[in-house]
Symmetry: C2
Subunit: 417 residues, 2 copies
Amino acid sequence: MRAMLFSQLFSKTTKAFPKDEEAVNAKYLLRGGFIRKMSAGVFTFLPLGFRVLQKVVNIVREEMNAIGAEELLMNALVAKEYWEKSKRWDVDVIYKLKTQAGEEFGLGWTHEEVITAIAQHFIQSYKDLPKAVYQIQTKFRSEPRAKNGLLRGREFMMKDLYSFHADKAGLDAYYATVIKAYEKIMKRIGLQYVIAEAAGGAFTNEYTHEFQVLASSGEDTVYYCEKCHYAQNKEIANPAMVAPDGKCPKCSGKIMSGNAIEVANVFRLGTRYADAFGVKFLDKDGASKPVIMGSYGIGPSRIVATVVEVSHDDRGIIWPKSIAPFDVHLVLLGDGAKERAAAKKLYADLMKRGVEVLFDDRAVSAGEKFADADLIGAPLRVLVSAKTVAAKKVEVKERASGKVKLISATKLLVMFK
Amino acid sequence: MRAMLFSQLFSKTTKAFPKDEEAVNAKYLLRGGFIRKMSAGVFTFLPLGFRVLQKVVNIVREEMNAIGAEELLMNALVAKEYWEKSKRWDVDVIYKLKTQAGEEFGLGWTHEEVITAIAQHFIQSYKDLPKAVYQIQTKFRSEPRAKNGLLRGREFMMKDLYSFHADKAGLDAYYATVIKAYEKIMKRIGLQYVIAEAAGGAFTNEYTHEFQVLASSGEDTVYYCEKCHYAQNKEIANPAMVAPDGKCPKCSGKIMSGNAIEVANVFRLGTRYADAFGVKFLDKDGASKPVIMGSYGIGPSRIVATVVEVSHDDRGIIWPKSIAPFDVHLVLLGDGAKERAAAKKLYADLMKRGVEVLFDDRAVSAGEKFADADLIGAPLRVLVSAKTVAAKKVEVKERASGKVKLISATKLLVMFK
């Protein structure tokens, strides 16, 4: 549904901030009726929030398809035997359950095990390589202290991409391709980020890379060069960068630091999982070799939260156009027949153009309507009142800049050509 | 990705039927590389299967939006307290898990509890009614004997819709609206069905209705009138219908019976959940009344399986056009430059038209290519060979009818206007 009447929305806004949530993203998303908290770290995406989430998902999907990755959907119930092969059955974050017959499963919090077991079935020869597959799926993570709203939930949406290569050069090339795709995603969503080097875990000597969005609420700390944007996660940062007057080891530029939210990462797995699951291929030279893998994550629900963290004011959320729940928040003031007719006509005309409109048709005060428009945060608020009708105009207010102008309805429509 | 090269597909087909799966849907979907079995009753949708699943999902979504339902996404981790309120914590089919701190959750196998708890927050007045919301989500069910492929899995995709009404008349009207929407979905997917009356469960004296697709593998038995299509599930069937020469109680038509697969159901919940969660509204007359609810399910992954059960031959699946993984299975035979160029041009031209094509560019035998085309089951197989190029034609074969014709590439393209 591209357009909605405010009076028919399933959710309602709330004036007061929730008492049991400190995170900015949770406060505004809850107040605006984007999400509903069902347990600590467990949220429902209400229709408004689902619209935003789907827009993020669609952007991610388009960019994954553009780099030749095929979409699939893996199982969430992952049997114990898979985790045992990779020695990850005993990690803290896995939720475990038993069937009536006593079989044990762990809920998928990541899917290296599953995809590697599948790949074993389909990859035998160098001719079967390279391959890349991804999924967009709800993942589960037993967080001891679920907090920070959607930033650290017990269930959350993830896009995870896995690639399979015959050699290191192939992996490195695709790794660079994925970084470019992630940069496109960030740009489309309007997030400012740094790409920080981070520890590679037990399985690689090379750095991994994290897409970090600077935000005071971030759980990570990054050091980054003001000039060339070279960045490192605090955990591995070069002593020269961490020093009080840190210098960039690449360009000697000034080093800045700050809290940041990790919204995506890219990871060279090497042969860690191929070894565990015995995924080998016959190379051109007739030799049997383990497949080399990469894994690449990006969190759509975390991105929704991150955007709120970095793009709000004290009145509410300021959505970038690409993921806003609606393009236009249309406000009708007054109960005169003329302004009502004008607002309805504008609503119909906007819909005809494919513009996504939320039409506040309620019989509430102007103050309440304006407060809700600011809280919900569509890029444009369009006001129709007796005054604007008399002037043969509509009042258009940009949520981000606060700029107001009176223009004709025709001129407004042309903006959405 | 609308088009794909066969040589680049992540999955491969298998010649032999799987030994551990008896269900027709599992056999063909596994052989064709649509799904992969990861545990009993637990499957991954491989890219081919995901394409089909997404097409079903999109049809369902369009028809839900068309009846004014808003999409949301509820949590899968549902805390014990929700199930206790409705007295469903102790059902067999619920998978239970504990957090590190000992909190107990059940995995959502249905979401009446969650949506009712949410509705309580947003519905206070008759002005807030009616409302309808739906989600498309992976659900979990502890099946003691997971079998029948995708027909009875431990995790599966469900669309569940919930409606909220001020009175019984409102519920009845929406109930009829949903039935019409489900009929549209069945028609778009090309499934023959009967709408069978079934038991209403403990909470209603009225019948519920099931969309049943006649199939020898179905776990249900339905009796239905050949003439007026009135139908009842065996469990509640009128003795007059069940009799050896059963007569329709509505029109005296001849009664038939058969196994059937339930692909959808509609259910009047009445005030069962509103009572459990205390969801009341103030009516026009100032009285506080419980909200009346309906719930309506349709299973996209089960629909995929059902289509395979009723639409296959001994060579493979016969997909209806609306949910086929590809519109065209393009087969190139021979390694001459001319036929290769002709096939490549046709592939490009079809893509330009937005046609979804799987282009079998592999260097394998004609027999293997034809067998895979039949197995994967796209509606049209288009063959380009030295012979067709010499005749300035392409060979088009309909998967369903087996009809073959030689037509010009131009004529083929026009078919996808």
